[in-house]
């Protein structure tokens, strides 16, 4: 077992893996963009505490936070088609598997970000809203100009951690046979008998992405510091 790692093999796997980064990024982007929109809706609905809807959302959030993404993916992939077919007669069995992966990420992110945003919005002191009203701003104007920017500030660190976590989770798509970066590394490793090089490259990619995201969130954190020294993380 001297031949654990070779540079040639490492360089050799790079072109075979690079095309699969796109799949991971695509999953993360869907989760991030659509999930954020869903998250804002969930947060606002939760803050309004509308009866029934609040209970439903509360169950949804507990479920998404209390079960693994793998379970969620399985339920959506196997359960949703049966559910839709028997209830509405809609056949989605022929859908692209990627759609089920996106859906899982979106629903999962909607719950996580919903809670993150809710906590962030509720952390803004009421006197900020009252000050907004007192200068004659409407409710929505106060929310958008005063409350939301301050909530964003609070949510930024959690958001950064969340995105990195999502990257790590994209490999669950492999269970449906959707090959992402990790999935491809696994198949390459199995085929050649040398797994380390492929995984080393995957690790490198994750590190680069993490650094880039950290940088981005550092800049965002600065932008939203409003004269306060940010807590270094």
């Amino acid at each position: 077992m001297n031949d654990v790692f070779s540079i040639e093999r490492f360089l050799g796997v790079i072109p075979k893996l690079i095309p699969y980064i796109g799949i991971s990024i695509k999953i993360v982007l869907y989760g991030l963009v659509v999930g954020s929109i869903l998250g804002i809706i969930v947060a606002v609905l939760r803050i309004k505490r509308i009866p029934v809807i609040n209970q439903i959302l509360s169950v949804y959030i507990s479920f998404m936070r209390g079960t693994s993404m793998l379970v969620q993916l399985m339920l959506i992939y196997y359960g949703l088609p049966v559910f839709l077919k028997s209830l509405f007669g809609i056949d989605i069995n022929s859908w692209d598997k990627m759609l089920f992966v996106y859906m899982t990420f979106i629903l999962n992110e909607g719950a996580f970000l919903g809670e993150l945003f809710r906590a962030a919005i509720e952390s803004v002191p009421v006197d900020q809203t009252e000050a907004g009203y007192s200068v004659g701003l409407t409710g929505p104007q106060t929310f958008i100009h005063i409350v939301l920017p301050q909530a964003v500030k609070t949510a930024i660190p959690g958001y950064g951690v969340d995105i990195i976590g999502m990257f790590h989770n994209t490999s669950i798509a492999f269970t449906l046979g959707v090959v992402d970066l990790v999935g491809r590394a696994k198949t390459l490793g199995t085929a050649s008998g040398h797994e380390l090089e492929a995984y080393a490259f995957v690790a490198l990619i994750y590190i680069v992405i993490s650094i880039l995201l950290r940088l981005l969130f550092y800049v965002l954190d600065k932008k939203y510091s409003f004269g306060r020294e940010g807590v270094k993380s």
């Binding site: 006197d127 000050a131 009203y133 007192s134 200068v135 004659g136 701003l137 100009h145 409003f226 004269g227």
Partner: protein, 250 residues
């Protein structure tokens, strides 16, 4: 003229305002005095719809609104005729000093930006904060924040400014200078209602003093009447506690 008519407000079983009425003439500086818990803050908050009264009417100029059932549009109209100076300054934490002042002008009143900035610079100059123009509240002292708070209210050019204990969160050595700023507002002829525990300020600046206790207006009069010739026993008791005897009889 501003009139508050028959305001009632309870928090649960606690009846905080029991049929309070108040008249404020144009240019008046009405100082509201009263012990802690007498409902002073609640009254001001009801006048600005930050609290929903159970009953009562508010008249500002030509407009009369119901303090309990005003529509969203009416609330907005009233709020755009009034301004509030908060005990804890209430500055927008995500806005710089000048943005705190321009926000209500640009976003709420649709004043063109250049005009709003010009106006804001003028009031900043007036409260001595020009050099802090682009500072966020987090970087300002309490006294500086309250100067901005007052400047923000004045810039809105409201029919009345409501002050709720504007100096009580400040370090004692800063109180005097902020009171001077507020005196300056009074000298501009701006109508104001001021809740304060600063008796000498009340004597000096008020055109009318209102003494509240237990959710009712006990007595109203000129500073001279209230401080030197109070009619009601409760007023006398309160003043005896607040003002040292020697000063009281000068």
């Amino acid at each position: 003229m501003i009139e508050v008519k028959n305001v009632r407000k309870s928090f649960g079983k606690n009846e905080v305002l029991k049929d309070v009425s108040l008249t404020v003439d144009k240019g008046d500086v009405v100082v509201i005095l009263g012990p802690s818990g007498s409902g002073k803050t609640t009254l001001l908050r009801c006048m600005n719809f930050l609290e929903k009264a159970d009953e009562g009417k508010l008249v500002i100029g030509e407009q009369e609104v119901d303090l309990h059932s005003a529509s969203g549009k009416e609330k907005l109209q009233i709020r755009r005729k009034t301004a509030f100076v908060f005990q804890n300054y209430g500055l927008f934490q995500n806005k710089t000093a000048i943005q705190n002042i321009t926000e209500g002008l640009i976003t709420a009143r649709k004043v063109p930006k250049t005009e709003a900035v010009k106006k804001a610079e003028e009031v900043l100059e007036w409260v001595g904060m020009s050099d802090k123009r682009d500072y966020y509240p987090a970087k300002l002292s309490g006294g500086q924040q309250q100067r901005i708070g007052i400047a923000r209210a004045v810039a809105l050019d409201p029919d009345v400014i409501l002050f709720d204990e504007p100096t009580s969160a400040l370090d004692p050595e800063l109180v005097g200078e902020i009171l001077d700023v507020i005196k300056n507002v009074a000298q501009r002829g701006i109508t104001m209602v001021v809740v304060t525990h600063e008796m000498s300020f009340a004597q000096e600046v008020a055109s009318k003093v209102v003494f509240m206790d237990g959710g009712v207006v006990v007595e109203t009069g000129t500073p001279n009447q209230i401080f030197y010739h109070p009619k009601e026993e409760r007023t006398k008791k309160f003043l005896e506690r607040i003002i040292p005897q020697d000063q009281y009889y000068i």
